[in-house]
Amino acid sequence: MRKPQSRRRHHKVRYFVFRALPESFPVELKRSNTDAHHMAMNDWVKFELPFLSRDLVLRFGADFYAAWLTFMNEPISGVSPYGQAIGMSVQDTTDSKLTVKVPYAAHLVGDPDTGVIHGGVITAALDNASGSAVRVSKDWHDGLSMATLDIRIDYMKPATPQVDLLVTAECYKRTKTIAFVRAVAYHESEDDPVATSVATFMMGTLNQRRS
């Protein structure tokens, strides 16, 4: 029996797409520590997938691959609902240090007279960055879970309206059960802080869905 012509043509299109694709794509994959206390941090690990890209295109087509790539590179899926609500995203990660960015937005304003963002937004960003700093520190494993014990925040000056806020947190000491983190919120330089904080976290607490 004669093969339908359309099918062969379809194969040709597929091959053309395959040829047009580069050999590998930088794809950011999410680390699978979904059970930790602070879901807000999207810690992504860069991966090169030389085989998967071509393979996925051949098997499922270019459309699927494009959708898959978008899904994998979607940074918002690693942020907690509250983190998403205030527009928080992870900027930079090094060993035990981490930077989070909160873009200026109208709904975050705490003083309508001046347009300065509310202290609670800074609290949220500092708390989140501090938690994430523990999770990127050495010896962290995905089985661990974590809860904030306390946080002390000092506000040095009001945040400047219309300017994005950056928070850098550093986990400077970790024991078996407790992590100590300091964090700075600033606009341009860490030397000119908007707020600083010291927080302690407890690790290894049960993290199971309540009945």
Partner: protein
């Protein structure tokens, strides 16, 4: 526009709900005020957006911090007349229990009020007042009228 001055002129200096309605972040969180006599209780209705830990699920520490700060601020403005909104100097928050996905209530006490600085303690709870989920101690910088 000076919001506190405007409310004072309208004779609504003690109407904390009106003040909250003018603070975009308070509106965004959905914070409400319940006043019985001279007792002010703040209410944070639960919203999916407030979740920080989707596994438990638990309310985000930042949302709890923000609610504590707003509770302190409301109590302070209820007690005193200010020219502009008090500025937070520092906050120290103790997380005592994880916040379950239900309505949260807050109460604050102004422990000491000077001319320029006020000390405020706040506690928030969910089912029982005797089982607070977080407590805070804050200093505010005031601008007296």
């Amino acid at each position: 526009m000076q919001i506190l001055k405007q409310l004072r002129e309208e004779g609504r200096a003690e109407d904390m709900q009106a003040l909250l309605d003018h603070i975009p972040y308070a509106k965004f969180l959905g914070v409400q005020v319940d006043r019985k006599g001279n007792e002010v209780t703040t209410i944070l209705p639960f919203d999916e957006m407030l979740i920080g830990n989707t596994t438990l699920p638990a309310i985000h520490g930042g949302a709890i911090g923000a609610f504590l700060e707003l509770t302190s601020l409301i109590q302070l403005l209820f007690n005193t007349q200010c020219e502009s909104l008090p500025k937070t100097v520092d906050v120290s928050i103790d997380y005592l229990r994880s916040g379950r996905p239900v309505e949260t209530y807050g109460r604050a006490v102004v422990t000491r009020q000077g001319r320029r600085v006020a000390n405020v303690r706040a506690e928030i709870w969910q089912d029982e007042f005797n089982k607070p989920i977080a407590a805070s101690h804050a200093h505010f910088l005031l601008t007296p009228v």
